[in-house]
């Protein structure tokens, strides 16, 4: 469900990227990337590992200079007015960037002091953050010895010593267990309600769907599709039914039974036929009915949410190939 914010009703563009490009020697990591983020919205950059998400975030946060193209944050140019950009952006990097050998509390205090607050004010701010992010229990533990989820919380808190105009989160939940992920999500939702503009990267379609107003799908450093979650989902399909055949013949029979009524995606290596199921159960029933009529045998049949792979397949007509070379390239029947 997308979060929208009624409190801020502004068309002010907070982040604008124009033709943003980054080369590492000969390698093009980001290629002519364009983006507009409106104040108070959540924009998610969705793409597989190596797509160029971190590189884009680093350019926007002034950690890396674009090879060509330009970007502004709150009107400040990320190269010419880098210091001003740093004043309005808070970045939480992909790998929680904290001083391992300081405690959670010491890390937060350092961040507050570095923003210019006196010891007293910094202490007050940190107390607030410790409460708000539920850090009390491990405030005196060295950061290197806390769990991944706890570390993420300290990391987020460290980015919020000052309420930023734009918060950038690079893969905030990668590597977290489902419970910690829920906690991070609810924290993010609260922040968005508080009016912060959020730029978020993720590898999980589900996460972009849950948090973002606008999703940009990216692959090989290029934006390949963009839209609201609903726009994208109407193209991807809400859910899918996966049918796993017993053997190659079985798969053939399944395809025969379904191809006239459904758009199939066939993966021969995994003996899997996948069918979009916008009406979930009704579609599942229709599929099982069609299979039963030809007495097909199946190994497994399941209703599931679409993955990033499905999204790429549906929106670009091809899988995000180099990242899944172990799988066969799915073919799409008409």
């Amino acid at each position: 469900m997308a979060m929208t914010n009624d409190a801020i009703n502004s068309d002010e563009l907070v982040v604008v990227a124009t033709g943003l490009t980054k080369h590492f020697a000969d390698f093009v990591a980001v290629d002519n990337f364009n983006l507009e983020v409106k104040a108070g919205t959540v924009v998610s950059l969705l793409g597989p590992n190596g797509a160029g998400k971190t590189t884009i975030v680093r350019m926007l946060a002034t950690l890396s200079e674009p090879t060509s193209g330009s970007a502004t944050v709150c009107g400040y140019d990320v190269v010419r007015d880098a210091d001003a950009v740093r004043g309005v952006v808070s970045l939480t990097g992909q790998f929680a960037a904290l001083e391992d050998n300081l405690t959670a509390e010491e890390n937060l205090l350092l961040m507050a002091r570095l923003r210019g607050y006196s010891k007293r004010t910094a202490t007050r701010i940190v107390e607030g953050l410790i409460d708000r992010f539920d850090i009390g229990e491990f405030r005196d533990k060295l950061v290197k010895s806390v769990s991944g989820g706890q570390r993420r919380r300290v990391d987020l808190a460290a980015s919020l010593v000052v309420q930023p105009k734009v918060l950038m989160l690079d893969e905030p939940t990668t590597g977290l267990d489902p419970r910690s992920r829920q906690v991070v999500w609810s924290t993010i939702r609260e922040l968005v309600q508080g009016g912060v503009t959020l730029f978020l990267t993720t590898q999980y379609l589900e996460e972009a769907d849950a948090l973002a107003d606008h999703i940009v799908l990216i692959d090989h450093g290029r934006a390949v599709a963009a839209g609201t979650p609903n726009e994208l989902k109407s193209q991807i399909g809400d859910q899918r039914v996966d049918i796993v055949g017993i053997d190659a013949n079985g798969v053939g029979l399944i395809v025969e039974a379904l191809s006239s009524n459904f758009q199939l995606v066939i993966d021969h290596n995994r003996r899997t036929v996948s069918v979009p199921a916008p009406h979930d159960l009704a579609d599942l029933v229709a599929v099982t009915g069609a299979l039963a009529r030809v007495s097909a045998h199946v190994d497994e049949i399941a209703l599931r949410r679409p993955t990033l792979d499905d999204a790429f397949l549906a929106l670009t007509g091809q899988a995000s190939e180099p990242y899944q070379q172990d799988q066969s390239i799915a073919e799409v029947t008409p």
Binding site: L98, D100, Y117, G128
Partner: protein, 280 residues
């Protein structure tokens, strides 16, 4: 998490303090970051032992194990060894600074500082100054241990001042060198490797433990031109008034040491700053 909107203390509630002049900010931020570095020393056993136990063990080991077999004409082994160890400790600053820098760059904590509206110069200055302070701790321990075990430096007050200045120059040069290497190598393991493969042997060939003049041809030639030899000979000259024989740099140790250090600083500081300031 127990969070309700009502109970939230919004960070935005605290007005941002006025930004002082950039000089003042630079000193404040540098100080904060130095403290952060020093705070972590006691929490990393490896680093703590590098600056405390290791120099102690080295001093004891060489004094009592080799000291019984090595005889230096005209002086006690204490008076020969201690200046050597002090010179060596300057060179070891490369490893310490390199490992610390590589670690910081790897964990992304430097990126976090760089993403803050903090003067970038303060991030790298604090790295250098923090490392220098850490090395000084080690040097003081070595010197204290040496004095307790019979090291007797002969220095006028002027000579002592010269000694302090030379040590500081050496520390600055080798720490900057280490910071640059750490940024290039980016892996603390690789930095340790470089330390063992290059700095360690060079420091042994530098006349630290035995005179270069008595070595066989190959090590003697290396020792004659090893920049670390100039450090060792120079410290020995300043603290004991001893002259070293050998190559030009050994007979003019103080000038040579200043030359090497200034050269290192002139090369490393601009490179390190450029690498650090230019985001990549």
């Amino acid at each position: 998490m127990t969070m309700t909107l009502a109970s939230m203390t919004r960070p935005g509630d605290e007005p941002l303090p006025k930004r002082p002049a950039s000089m003042q900010r630079f000193f404040r931020e540098t100080w904060l970051l130095i403290v952060r570095g020093l705070q972590t020393i006691p929490r990393v056993p490896q680093r703590l032992s590098d600056v405390t136990i290791q120099p102690l063990v080295f001093t004891l080991l060489f004094l009592y194990v080799f000291g019984s077999a090595i005889h230096i004409k005209g002086m006690s082994y204490q008076n020969y060894l201690l200046p050597g160890l002090l010179g060596q400790s300057l060179a070891f600053g490369v490893i310490g600074a390199g490992v610390a820098t590589a670690t910081d760059f790897n964990t992304g904590v430097i990126d976090r500082f760089r993403s803050l509206p903090v003067t970038r110069l303060s991030v790298i200055s604090s790295q250098v100054i923090g490392q220098i302070l850490e090395q000084i701790l080690g040097i003081v321990i070595v010197a204290g241990m040496g004095l307790a075990l019979g090291w007797r430096p002969h220095m006028s007050p002027f000579g002592f001042g010269e000694f302090l200045l030379l040590m500081l120059l050496g520390l600055s040069a080798f720490t900057w060198f280490g910071v640059l290497l750490g940024m290039i190598v980016k892996s603390s393991d690789a930095m340790q490797g470089i330390g063992f493969a290059i700095v360690f042997p060079l420091s042994f060939l530098a006349g630290t433990f035995v005179p270069i003049a008595g070595m066989k041809l190959v090590p003697r030639t290396i020792g004659d031109w090893d920049p670390l030899s100039a450090l060792v000979a120079s410290v020995r000259h300043v603290t004991q008034g001893t002259n070293t024989s050998g190559s030009w740099q050994l007979t003019h140790p103080v000038v040579s040491m200043i030359f090497w250090c200034v050269l290192i600083i002139a090369v490393c500081v601009p490179l390190a700053l450029r690498r650090f300031m230019n985001a990549n």
